[in-house]
């Protein structure tokens, strides 16, 4: 796969595509979400905020973002 070729991923369960080579930090920024507003996981594994730039997304990756909510 060459650079910038669209690749399929899912983001919070919804099918999307992103250019190959996109890292997790870039994907989050593209959503208009502040980096510290969410926690992230790829394929069910936690990816820490300071590791998002190094985490290059692969075709078929399932990205999940979590936000604070009320809780008991």
């Amino acid at each position: 796969m060459t650079a910038m070729t669209p690749q399929p991923i899912t983001l919070n369960g919804q099918a999307q595509s992103c250019p190959s080579g996109t890292n997790l930090a870039e994907l989050i920024a593209q959503q208009g979400v502040a980096p510290d507003a969410v926690a992230t996981a790829v394929n069910g594994a936690f990816v820490a905020r300071d590791r998002r730039t190094q985490h290059v997304l692969q075709p078929g990756d399932s990205v999940t973002t979590f936000q604070p909510i009320v809780g008991g």
């Binding site: 919070n12 979590f66 604070p68």
Partner: protein
């Protein structure tokens, strides 16, 4: 005397949940009225494109006011079914909320929301290894509690009754047994408390704190109910420290008279 959790001194023994309030403003007032120094929070998978609903659960609303309350945040792993899920969610919570405290919930049954000890214990072990202060939500089963301590938990949070049921302490014998067998372990009754009377009962059994949510959030006046629980928990604790008298089978006269008043 203050309750000490991992070096953090707590003068309130009332841990309050933040879900289900009529509005963020009522939640804020209820936290203030409760005097709670520990409030529970959660994490939710985001919906696509920021469609996350509104109301008291809207992240911007509630999170800023909870921060402003100054209470310690206790994130939970609600909704997790496996140790792996719970560990991952705890890792996220630590980053998102900036705390190593985690209320570990791993549920094994939809009907009762009963904790699954076979997932809970390994999850607790892993989180302790990773440096978390684990607050395990567990049943009142003594052996499960002992296993949780074996893997490094410093406190336990056995249920009083199923989450949100408001049934009170359905097995006081088991809770009393936990207190007797684990005299030095901080014990928090978590879940099932419906009224301030239940909270008094838990504290009189010698529990160190009470965690509840629905009983306050679902009251007609959550702010007043938060204060009622505050007073109840303080009263119950004071009674435990003072020593409740042993029940007697028959009447025992309390007024020190000399026989009958008239010798007729």
């Amino acid at each position: 005397m203050a309750l000490n959790i991992g070096g953090v001194e707590l003068h309130s023994r009332f841990f309050l949940g933040t879900a289900g309030y009529p509005s963020p403003a009522v939640l804020q007032q209820a936290i203030a009225a409760s005097g709670s120094q520990v409030v529970t929070v959660g994490l939710k998978r985001q919906l696509a494109h920021g469609q996350n609903g509104g109301g008291a659960g809207a992240p911007g609303d509630f999170y800023s006011l909870i921060r402003a309350s100054g209470a310690h945040l206790l994130p939970n792993t609600a909704g997790c079914r496996t140790a792996r899920e719970a560990v991952t969610l705890a890792q996220m919570a630590r980053e998102l909320f900036g705390t190593h405290w985690i209320k570990l919930e791993v549920v094994g049954d939809d009907h009762t929301l009963q904790p699954d000890p076979f997932e809970l214990v390994p999850a607790a072990a892993e989180l302790v290894r990773e440096g978390f202060e684990v607050f395990p939500y567990c049943t009142d089963d003594l052996i499960t509690c002992q296993r949780l301590l074996d893997v490094g938990c410093n406190l336990l949070m056995p249920w009083g009754a199923p989450i949100g049921s408001g049934q009170g302490l359905i097995n006081p014998w088991a809770l009393r047994t936990l207190r007797e067998r684990l005299p030095d372990v901080p014990l928090v009754v978590d879940a099932g408390i419906g009224s301030p009377a239940h909270a008094v009962q838990a504290m009189e059994l010698g529990f160190d704190a009470v965690l509840l949510n629905s009983a306050v959030a679902q009251a007609h006046d959550p702010v007043a109910m938060a204060q009622a629980f505050k007073l109840a928990i303080e009263a119950g604790r004071l009674a435990w420290e003072a020593g409740v008298m042993a029940p007697q089978a028959m009447a025992v006269a309390s007024t020190p008279v000399t026989g009958r008043p008239f010798l007729l």
